[in-house]
Structure formats: structure tokens, C-alpha cells
């Protein structure tokens, strides 16, 4: 291939869509490395602390689209302190200096401030798309800046962010000449937007295909919007609080019947049972339905709705759907690929819920199912074995039995055999979350069979270090391992330290690893950052007082070529080895940060 002109090689590389493929070809030879780096447009950084932003921009000067992830996944469940890090600013700054042609930015689990958004909005004339997922630190003022300065904005997608409402009418900041919006999602915002402004914005954007309204948008407003945007493909309905006896309801039904392109529905924040009839006309075309934020909708209404959705591929519901409802899904939705069943009552045992029966029904009715997130109060080995047999195509299997350590209620056995069947049968499994009573045996199975596994989440499981060692030894493609409340200690941690350089990250909290174990790991592996998060109250600030035998409450280990980070907060104790000549020169120069608080 090296005797082809570069343009030809570059053209061939154009056919490589995935980051992994491009990463792979760039390691073949220097010539390919250079062709690839100049032609890469989409850059994905899975851990914002694995590499310095400047290094990324220097390598990929033609970058148009950047995606960066910050906090560890368990931050979603409040296990990571608020000010741990994951700041967007260094990335935006670096792009301002080096990649002014930036068009798309996607950030997940990062801290983004209003100033960051302001800088972003003013610095990139070709900016088209901003996607923020599970981020925090900004308010509607930042959104106002985006609306004001990003003249050609096509996409503003805010997914489950914590956004402060400063009351500013940010939506009004979209200029009258802004007609380019294709996708607008502000479902996570708490505050109101001016209905007239919203309706006019929708009316002047002929390419708008995805619109997700927040809870504050009334049904009357929804009506106006749907009437003006009949070509919508994806709609988040906003409040949907409407009495089905009213004219507003009739008008809504008429509007929906004109939406021939609508294939994805979500929202229904305040929907009450009978008003779902209004969406029946679109059910036949729905491929995506998210009812998981509608707790007032009970099983019978869900069933009536879903029994019309023959083409459904993705369904998110609350567990009030019950096993009965899942049976209806199984018999109706033959195209179903992804199912998520969320708990509706987090703090106690729900009267209506789903059990293993619902899951078995789904597995036998929906042969294309490949992605599952299922919260339930009980599961049996027999059910999991049946599911494994019925659905060998799972790529993502996440089961959460709400009571930790809960065994199979029929046999009182651990669920080792059930999960073992899943990993044995699903040869393409990439992501797995375990729950229930589990011994080291399940980890033996996972190590043996889950050869494609990339992400594993473990909680309240296992008997000994052997469990973790099975995983590290057997799962060749493991990238992310996150463990909480398991009896894994230093022996497991230090069993194969080189393994962690083949992974993006390891999280362990409330396990048995000690400070001494963490130090040993850091000492052996200079290209890992080992962060210990200590939040115990009343402890003294001096690291000398804490013996190496003390357990590390929370530990986060990740590979990096950037060296220790300089923005770690006080409660993080970062460990890294002393510098030596073998360490790549990108890694920095920082001293160890200490502290305990």
C-alpha cells in the first residue's frame, strides 16, 4: 500500500468509520500514521485525563468533531465526589488555539461552566452541534450564549444534565435568522420557556427533525408545535398533562394523526392515563418509545399503547408495566432490539414490579433483542438459562436485582449458573452488569467465556481475590472494570499490573484494597494514574498518619500518557512512580498531591 499516492491511501481510509479501525491503521507504519492523522475528522477521547488536549489537537489538525468523556461511570450513582474533576475548559481552550474549524463537540460526565459555553459559542464560526450528556456546572446563561453566537447551529442536545435555571429566556436568544436547527433537546431543563418564542423557532426551522421539550411545556404549546412541524421524526412531548375531555385533547389527536414521519416518542412527564389515546395514530410507525419518565401511567394504559407498536425497536419503561405488560411487549414487538425496565419505586419494594417471568417472556417473544437493562426484585437461574438460550445475540446485558446478595428465590442458590449461561451463550457480549448473590464461580465463567467483554460492572459479589483474578486473566478485551462492595483486595489488584495498561480504567470502592496496595501498583506502573478518594470525616490531613494497611475507600486507576493531573481536588491522593528516562516526554512534571479529608 505504501506505493500508492497518499491521496489514494487517504481515500481508502475514508471508508474506515470506527475510531478503532483508524487507530489500528495508524500503527501500521509511519506513512500510514501521517496519512491517517491528517485525514481524521472525528476524534474520540474516552478519558479526558488519558492525554493532554494539546497533544490531541497537534496530532489531528483536521479535527472537525470531538467527543470527550470525563468522570468515571459510577459518578452517575453519586459515588464520585462533586468536584472530582473532568473539566471541559482545557479542551475548549486547546481547540480554540489549534482547531478553529471545530464543528461538533460532545461531552459526557464533564464539568462545563457558562464561561466555557460562552467561549465555545464565540470561537468557532462553523460550529454546528453541541451534545452534553450527564454534565453539570452550567446554567441557562450558558445556553443563551450558544443560542446567540452559534449562527449556523444545527444541533443542541442536552441529555440528563444538571442545569441551573437562571430564568433567562435563553430560547429567545436564537436569532430570527436562525433557521438551521435540525435537533433541539432541552427535556432536562426545569425552567419555563416562552411558548411563543418556541413555536416561532420551530416554525422557521424547516429541517427540524428531533425536538424534545421539557416538563414545563404545556399541551397547548405542544399542539401548536406539532401542527407546525409535521415532519418531526423524534418528539419529546413535554408535560402532556391534558384532560381527555377537552378540546385541547381533540386538537392534539388531530395534530398527531398528521405526523407521518414520527418514529420516536418520549417525555410524557405529567401524562395521565387516558390522554395516551392521542398518540395512538403514530404507534404503528414507532421504532423508539420512552415512557420511563411517566410514573402516573400504569400497566393497563401502557399495554394499550404498546399493543399497537409493531415496529418498536427500542423500549424504555418503568417496572409498573409488570410481567403482564412485558408479555404483551413480547407478543407485539417482534422487532425489539433494546429494552430498559427502570424501577418506579426506588426506596422500597414496589407492589407492582417485574420478575423473571417478564424477562423470560421477552426473551422468547423478541428474537432480535440485543440490549437489556432490567431492574427487578428477583431472578432465578432457570430464567437466566432460558433467556440465554432464547437470546444468544446480547451485546449488552445489565441486570439489577434491587436487593444486594439476593439468591435465586426458588432454589436459594447463587446466580452463578444463570449468568454463566448468559456469557456462554452470548458470544458477542460487550457489556455486562451483575447483581444478586454471586460467588467466585460466576467470575470463573466470565473469564472463561466472555471473550468479547469490554465493560463489566460488579456490586456485592464474590468471595475472594480469586474472583477478580479470573476476570483480569480471562477477559482479553476488557476496557472498563468497575467494582463496588466486593471482597477483592491487594492480591487481586497486584496480580497482573500490566493488564491495566490494556484497559481504559479500573474503579474499586468499598473493597479490600489498601493504601499500600495502591502505592505498590503506582510504583510498578508509571503510566497509570492511581487515584484514591478519601472522604472519611475527621481524619487528619497528614499522609504519614495513615498506615498502608488502611483500606482505600475509593480507588480509580486509569492509563495515561499525560502524567498525574494538576487539577485534582484536595481529597484525592494521586500516586505515581518517580520520573525516569523511560517515561514518555508528554507526561508531566507534577508532584504528588496529598490529602485526606
Amino acid at each position: 500500500m505504501t506505493y500508492f499516492p497518499e491521496e489514494v491511501v487517504e481515500h481508502i481510509f475514508d471508508f474506515l468509520g470506527s475510531h478503532r479501525d483508524r487507530n489500528a491503521v495508524s500503527t501500521v507504519c509511519k506513512a500510514w500514521y501521517h496519512v491517517e492523522r491528517f485525514s481524521r475528522r472525528n476524534v474520540f477521547v474516552g478519558n479526558c485525563y488519558a492525554i493532554r488536549p494539546e497533544r490531541v489537537m497537534a496530532r489531528f489538525p483536521g479535527m472537525k468533531s470531538l467527543s470527550v468523556k470525563g468522570k468515571p461511570h459510577f459518578a452517575d450513582y453519586n459515588l464520585v465526589p462533586y468536584d472530582w474533576g473532568g473539566f471541559a475548559l482545557p479542551w475548549i481552550n486547546a481547540a480554540v488555539r489549534r482547531c478553529p474549524g471545530l464543528e461538533d463537540l460532545r461531552l459526557k460526565r464533564m464539568v462545563v461552566t457558562d464561561d466555557d459555553l460562552d467561549l465555545l459559542a464565540r470561537s468557532f464560526p462553523n460550529f454546528r452541534s453541541l451534545v452534553l450528556v450527564s454534565c453539570e456546572g452550567f446554567s441557562t446563561d450558558g445556553l443563551a450564549a450558544i443560542a446567540t453566537y452559534c449562527r449556523g447551529l444545527r444541533e443542541l442536545d442536552l441529555q440528563e444534565n444538571e442545569v441551573e435555571d437562571h430564568g433567562r429566556q435563553w430560547l429567545s436568544c436564537f436569532h430570527e435568522s436562525c433557521t438551521s436547527l435540525v435537533s433541539l433537546n432541552f427535556a432536562c431543563l426545569k425552567g419555563e420557556v416562552n411558548a411563543g418564542v418556541l413555536e416561532r423557532l420551530v416554525a422557521r426551522c424547516p429541517n427540524l427533525r428531533s425536538l424534545k421539550l421539557n416538563r414545563a411545556v404545556s399541551v397547548e404549546s405542544l399542539n401548536e408545535i406539532v401542527a407546525r412541524a409535521p415532519y418531526l421524526v423524534d418528539l419529546g412531548t413535554g408535560s402532556f398533562a391534558v384532560d381527555h375531555h377537552t378540546d385541547a385533547y381533540q386538537r392534539l389527536m388531530n395534530s398527531f394523526s398528521k405526523c407521518k414521519s414520527l418514529s420516536s416518542l418520549s417525555g410524557f412527564w405529567e401524562a395521565s392515563p387516558h390522554c395516551l389515546d392521542a398518540v395512538y395514530p403514530v404507534c404503528i410507525n414507532l421504532t423508539v418509545l420512552n415512557m420511563s419518565y411517566a410514573p402516573a401511567i400504569q400497566a393497563d394504559d401502557l399495554i394499550k399503547l404498546i399493543s399497537l407498536c409493531f415496529k418498536l425497536q427500542k423500549l424504555w419503561v418503568l417496572d409498573c408495566i409488570g410481567d403482564k405488560g412485558l408479555a404483551v411487549v413480547a407478543s407485539t414487538c417482534k422487532e425489539l432490539q433494546e429494552l430498559r425496565v427502570f424501577p418506579s419505586d426506588i426506596y422500597g419494594a414496589g407492589a407492582t414490579s417485574v420478575t423473571e417471568e417478564g424477562l423470560v417472556a421477552i426473551s422468547s417473544g423478541c428474537p432480535k433483542l440485543n440490549s437489556l437493562l432490567y431492574f427487578c426484585y428477583q431472578m432465578t437461574n432457570a430464567a437466566l438459562i432460558t433467556v440465554a438460550k432464547n437470546c444468544p445475540h446480547f451485546t449488552r446485558f445489565r441486570l439489577c436485582i434491587l436487593d444486594p446478595w439476593k439468591p435465586d428465590p426458588v432454589t436459594n442458590q447463587p446466580l452463578d449458573e444463570g449468568f454463566g449461561a448468559i456469557v456462554r451463550s452470548c458470544k458477542n457480549l460487550r457489556r455486562l452488569s451483575l447483581s444478586g448473590l454471586l460467588t467466585d464461580q460466576v467470575f470463573l465463567y466470565i473469564g472463561l467465556y466472555a471473550k468479547c467483554l469490554e465493560m463489566l460492572s460488579i456490586a456485592f459479589a464474590g468471595d475472594s481475590d480469586k474472583g477478580m483474578v479470573y476476570i483480569l486473566k480471562g477477559c482479553k478485551n476488557l476496557r472498563k472494570l468497575e467494582i463496588r462492595d466486593c471482597p477483592f483486595g491487594d492480591i487481586a489488584l497486584l496480580n497482573d499490573v500490566a493488564k491495566y495498561e490494556t484497559m481504559r480504567s479500573l474503579w474499586m470502592s468499598s473493597c479490600d484494597v489498601t493504601l499500600g496496595g495502591c502505592k505498590a501498583l503506582a510504583a510498578k506502573m508509571p503510566r497509570l494514574n492511581v487515584e484514591i478518594i478519601n472522604e472519611s470525616e475527621g481524619s487528619d490531613k497528614l499522609e504519614e498518619n495513615i498506615s498502608d494497611l488502611h483500606k482505600a475507600e475509593k480507588m480509580y486507576v486509569y492509563r495515561t500518557v499525560a502524567g498525574p493531573r494538576n487539577d485534582a481536588p484536595d481529597f484525592i491522593e494521586a500516586k505515581e512512580a518517580k520520573r525516569n528516562s523511560r517515561v514518555p516526554k508528554e507526561s508531566g512534571r507534577r508532584r504528588t498531591l496529598v490529602v485526606v479529608q
Binding site: 450513582y77 402516573a296 426506588i346 422500597g348 444486594p404 439468591p407 468499598s510
Partner: protein, 221 residues
């Protein structure tokens, strides 16, 4: 983290106090029957015993009580940080939903009302009136309604977690958030008086068989 030393002791205490409360509280009805029925329905009694056994071999966590059982207060479960693994955004959305079923004797169907949407007696009363507009008459807290035919007084009642019929109105209205639940308020005849949220929660825990020992849900007997 609940597996730290501080976490253990507090959950142990609340677990113990929860069990004591459950055993010693006075009830009028044959509450044993209703409780065991709920146990069957949920199948948790075995789970509780087993979990206590299996917890022993997991070092350092034998005192923990993250599992909710008949006597286990849901406070213990709430203390396991980050469990169940549900994003805060979703938790907050569900937390703010407080729909309660309202049944009025003599009406053909029930309605659901969001308690959080109302700041007190009058607002809730007004909302309920609208819902049952064909059936209810205006009713002020201090007036007693009387059946015009035979002079019998109407009183609003609810069914508490022991299956006892209790008079509504003893506990003052307090708005607080709680997770999604259903409860039953029944008015004798066709009147529904102002309803107290705590009592509703008491009623609710009957339906679910939970014993709420968290601060939010204590009912004064």
C-alpha cells in the same frame, strides 16, 4: 459508603429499632394475616433470612442491612449510597411524583391525584372536587355533613397499614416528597374531606406492606 464502620453502626441501630417497633406496636385488626399475605406476594421472607446468613461470610458487612424485609426499615436500604444504580436525574424525577389513588364510595371509578401539586387541604380538596364534580358537595373542614335522608353524619376515613379504619384529619398537613405509591382514601357516603399526607402515607404502606421508619413517614398513633 455503607460498608464503612460509621455506616454499619447506624444501619444496625435503625435495623434493630425497626424490628422492635414492628413487634411492639399495638394493632386492632388481625394484622398478622395481612402481613403474611404481603410476604407471600413479595416472597421476601426467605430472602431476608438467607441474606442474613450469606452476609456473614462476606467479611466486614455482617452488620449491614441493605435489604428491605418485613421488619427491615427502608431507611437501611436508603443508606446504601448509589444503590440501586439509578442516575440522580431519574431519581429526582421519580421522587417528585406522588400520585395517590382516591376512591369515593358510590362513584364508579377511582382517580389519581398528585399530592405534591397541592400545598394544603384546601387546594387538594378543590382538586378532588373537580375530579368528582358529579358526586361531591363542597365540604369545609369544620362542618359536618349530614345525610339529608336519615341524618347520619358522613365522615372521611382511610385504611391504615394494619387494615384499620382511621379518621382523617388528626395529623396536620405537611408537604414532603416521597416515591411513587398508591393509597386508598375512602369517604363514607359521597364526601371526601381534606386529606392529610402523612395519613396517606400510612395508608400507602398498608398496600405495600412496608414499614416506613424513615423520618418522613412516621405516623403518630
Amino acid at each position: 459508603m455503607s460498608t464503612t464502620e460509621t455506616g454499619n453502626s447506624s444501619t444496625t441501630e435503625s435495623a434493630v429499632s425497626g424490628l422492635d417497633y414492628e413487634e411492639t406496636q399495638l394493632t386492632l385488626a388481625a394484622s398478622g394475616a395481612s402481613r403474611s399475605e404481603l410476604e407471600r406476594k413479595r416472597g421476601f421472607s426467605e430472602g431476608v433470612d438467607l441474606s442474613l446468613e450469606t452476609k456473614d461470610f462476606l467479611s466486614g458487612s455482617s452488620d449491614e442491612a441493605p435489604i428491605s424485609g418485613a421488619g427491615e426499615p427502608s431507611a437501611a436500604k436508603a443508606q446504601v449510597v448509589g444503590w440501586p444504580p439509578v442516575r440522580s436525574f431519574r431519581r429526582n424525577v421519580l421522587k417528585s411524583c406522588t400520585y395517590v389513588k382516591v376512591a369515593v364510595d358510590g362513584t364508579p371509578y377511582l382517580r389519581k391525584v398528585d399530592l405534591e401539586a397541592h400545598a394544603g387541604y384546601q387546594q387538594l380538596l378543590t382538586a378532588l372536587e373537580e375530579m368528582f364534580s358529579c358526586f361531591t358537595a363542597r365540604n369545609y373542614p369544620n362542618e359536618r355533613l349530614v345525610d339529608p335522608v336519615n341524618g347520619t353524619e358522613y365522615v372521611p376515613t382511610y385504611e391504615d397499614k394494619d387494615g384499620d379504619w382511621m379518621l382523617i384529619g388528626d395529623v396536620p398537613w405537611k408537604v414532603r416528597s416521597s416515591s411513587n405509591f398508591t393509597g386508598n382514601i375512602k369517604g363514607f357516603g359521597s364526601h371526601v374531606e381534606a386529606i392529610n399526607k402523612e395519613e396517606l402515607e400510612g395508608a400507602i404502606s398498608t398496600i405495600h406492606g412496608k414499614h416506613h421508619s424513615t423520618e418522613n413517614n412516621l405516623v403518630e398513633w
